[in-house]
Assembly symmetry: C2
Homo-oligomer: 107 residues x 2
DNA sequence: CCGTTATTCAACCATTTGGTTGACGTTTCG
DNA sequence: CGAAACGTCAACCAAATGGTTGAATAACGG
């Protein structure tokens, strides 16, 4: 029903992928540089980046032989909104809350 | 490094489990009643509830022959905080947000 | 042109996940 | 007591996940 939430939460469930996202928070990076701190093959990191891209959490742009990875923080919004319904905003009408956010965040 | 985040996000990645959490937002429920709307065996739902319990997202208490499931919204906090680090809410119009909250919380 | 760097692809493997079924232990109730 | 309701357990299965290696593709640089 909301496959977007499926892929976003699944992507966030892996510690390697969360670490990658945290790295990209600092700056855009090439695939090789993303892989450097991990004790894991480059191919494995490439797969993780594919999962993050499929979830919309990052984007990848190839310039020359280097593929740059860029954080896409907006992709977390839907998931974050979903979660807010359970925390400090427990009493909120969730549908109204989502409508509010859409109005606020989408021009 | 943060196994809590692993289990919480993994638990949230399944649409059946998210639906269960949404149901429990309304009220505490017995396992059988949780299972009722799903086209799935009771055993499968029981497993899902086990995953949610392991993640700390719900608690289960047996009274008589009925096991009551209760939402534990605090468990989402760590994950929510982690996500806030990516700044997805920075574009919100805070004044409008306050007005929204007042309207929602004061009936 | 040739070697090197950057990245993915393909095949493979072990483990986990999400589901099934049937048997099993408890608690309630007529 | 005996039957029904509540829920889990165990064994099984198919598919997805996270990793490996080795070959393949593409772009630079001397």
């Amino acid at each position: 029903m909301t496959p977007q939430l499926d892929t976003v939460f699944a992507a966030l469930a892996d510690p390697t992928r969360r670490a990658i996202l945290a790295m990209l928070l600092e700056d855009d990076m090439a695939v090789t540089d993303v892989a450097e701190p991990f004790e894991m093959s480059l191919a494995a990191i490439s797969k993780h980046l594919g999962v993050l891209t499929a979830a919309g959490l990052i984007s990848q742009e190839k310039r020359g032989r280097v593929k740059w990875c860029k954080l896409e923080p907006d992709a977390m919004r839907e998931a974050s909104v979903w979660m807010q319904g359970f925390g400090q905003f427990e009493a909120i009408n969730l549908d109204a809350f989502e409508r509010f956010l859409e109005n606020e965040l989408d021009p």
